[in-house]
Amino acid sequence: MFKWLEKNLPKIVMAPAVGLIGWFVYGFVLWTLYISFTNSKILPKYELWGVGQYIKLWGSRKWLIAVDNLLIFTALFLIFCVVIGIILAIFLDQKIRAEGVLRTIYLYPMALSFIVTGTAWKWILNPTLGIQKMFIDWGFENFTFDWLVNREMAIYTIVIAGVWQSAGFVMALFLAGLRSVEDEIVKAAKIDGANLFTVYWKILLPMMRPVFFTSFVILVHISIKSYDLIVALTQGGPGISTTMPALYMTQTAFHKSQVGLSAASAMMMFMAVAAVIIPYLYSELRRENAR
């Protein structure tokens, strides 16, 4: 008995982690998957109902708006974060005097919660006392900046706040990538007569392919899951103009009590994330094995 215990101790110690994750992640996902095929309302029902919820989901205007918003947000969020992140990383890589301070400034939003960020930006962007008033007081009489309450433009305020929060992080990833490149490559390029622009454009950035890939995966992941920021900044409004899938899911589940429908939307999100993450994990694993 004692011998057996000793021999299997590692597995016994491993058990809580495996058990908890098995139950709370895999079990729960399967449960949600099952529920998405039922006609559950406030309380879950367990008889199967087919793909009705999915049909209902894709017929819902609100969900379509949410998906639309997600696409717009993801595209802009990606582009701005990566472009700003790369520019900052490259510029910081030039033996800048106050590099430490600047890096700290660019990255601190990452330490704040989206609720804090959203609260701050909501105040800054509000049309009565925020930026708009600042410009008007500076003498730009006709300046208007009402994106936050404008159905068409509200989604872009979420982009502004999201980019503000995450661009520094992309900067950190690229800076680490650039720093890991051997000095001698840059030296060789300088002797070859490449100017700074060419060095980065033709030589260093092409070497950053893995970093691009990582940033892409992480940013897409953040954007699919984005919930807090919208709640704090717009609550999905004005109207439902800034609804996103994560918000749609919680609202349908906990305010509208459409558990089956909300499970279907959760599964759509799950699949979207899986489509990005599984290739990523696969390639990471291959890289680790290749080493």
Partner: protein, 364 residues
């Protein structure tokens, strides 16, 4: 006109002094090797010549023009790096012509150069491959090719062979030597491998702690080291340095060690200055390969020493003898049989000795 001239060059990184008052000159077509232990500042010096590092004091001249503040690309040099530093995202062709493209050389000229050089270095079959698909030796060739296509005034090499295995290293060494013989371009070559230095260089500059210890032909570096550092650094095993005193009586100089009756006559030695020799504390330097087990020369000095240790290294053996409680190493063919713990008759070739002042460690 000197192809390269360095004057009173000093360099420090913050508070650490890396190079101190370096003076160097290279004639057209020469092959200068910078040799020294790790961290002595060789790469830094090379980078300064290339313009990749700034200078704190002093100047660098190429063809009598002060280039101290000129950009690397305008110095008319090319460099080959230890890690090859090939651009990983470009194939071999793009790697080799990158410099020419930056210099806006015409397409025809680029193609011509590329063909010539890639044939010459036998990489013409590899042009479409990425660096990651090449072997170490092939990468090295491409790196050299990238330098060659630019037809520079000066080639700079920073330990180009140290990432290759022993066999390939010897091969590539020969190829670099051939290359230099054919092209006759001036070369500055950094290494910490003395065999490489000896076999390649027309001149060797030995560095330690940012100071050039001796800049001379390989023969002089080997035969007449200018201080104990050079004596110790060159040769394997390195030169025996036996501590003792000089004795001068009636114009005859000899070497004695403390409390012994062995007296080695110093006859044909070429002293730098022949005064104040009596009682001078010195190191008596003799290379292991200049100690013999049988008399080969009338002037050889005969001595009886106890053998303590024998190390077999294939075609040779290295014997350790006890010379008045100082270790003396000798190199013999491995066929010679010498009994340990017994006195053995040895012969010092006194024409090949060096003497150093024990205090300044300089050659006298």
């Amino acid at each position: 006109m000197k192809t390269l001239k360095i004057e009173e060059l000093s360099k420090n990184f913050g508070s650490t002094e890396v190079l101190r008052k370096i003076n160097l000159e290279i004639d057209e077509g020469n092959f200068l090797v910078l040799l020294g232990p790790s961290g002595c500042g060789k790469s830094t010096l090379l980078n300064i010549i290339a313009g990749l590092e700034t200078i704190n004091e002093g100047n660098v001249h190429i063809d009598d023009y002060n280039v101290s503040k000129v950009e690397p690309k305008d110095r008319n040099i090319a460099m080959v790096f230890q890690s090859y530093a090939l651009y990983p995202s470009m194939n071999v062709r793009e790697n080799m012509i990158f410099g020419l493209k930056q210099a806006k050389v015409s397409k025809e000229k680029i193609e011509e150069q590329l063909e010539k050089v890639s044939k010459f270095l036998q990489v013409d079959a590899l042009l479409e491959r990425k660096p990651s698909q090449l072997s170490g030796g092939q990468r090295q060739r491409v790196a050299i090719g990238r330098a060659l296509v630019r037809e520079p005034r000066i080639f700079l090499f920073d330990e180009p062979l140290s990432n290759l295995d022993a066999k390939l290293r010897v091969e590539m060494r020969r190829e670099i030597k051939k290359l230099h013989q054919q092209l006759k371009t001036t070369v500055v070559y950094v290494t910490h491998d003395q065999t490489e230095a000896m076999s390649l260089g027309t001149n060797i500059a030995i560095m330690n702690h940012g100071v050039i210890q001796q800049n001379d032909t390989p023969e002089n570096i080997y035969n007449k080291p200018s201080n104990t550092f050079v004596a110790d650094f060159i040769g394997s095993p390195s030169m025996n340095l036996i501590k003792g005193n000089l004795k001068e009586s009636s114009n005859k100089v000899s070497f004695v060690t403390h409390g012994s009756n062995i007296e080695i006559p110093i006859n044909g030695y070429d002293f730098k200055e022949k005064s104040n020799l009596d009682n001078k504390e010195v190191f008596f330097g003799i290379r292991p390969e200049h100690i013999f087990f049988k008399k080969s020369n009338e002037e050889d000095f005969e001595i009886n020493l106890r053998a303590d240790l024998s190390e077999y290294i294939g075609h040779e053996q290295i014997m350790t003898f006890n010379f008045e409680n100082q270790e003396v190493l000798a190199k013999f063919p491995s066929t010679v049989k010498i009994d340990l713990s017994k006195n053995t008759k040895l012969f010092f070739d006194l024409t090949q000795i060096s003497l150093f002042d024990a205090k300044t460690e300089e050659r006298i």
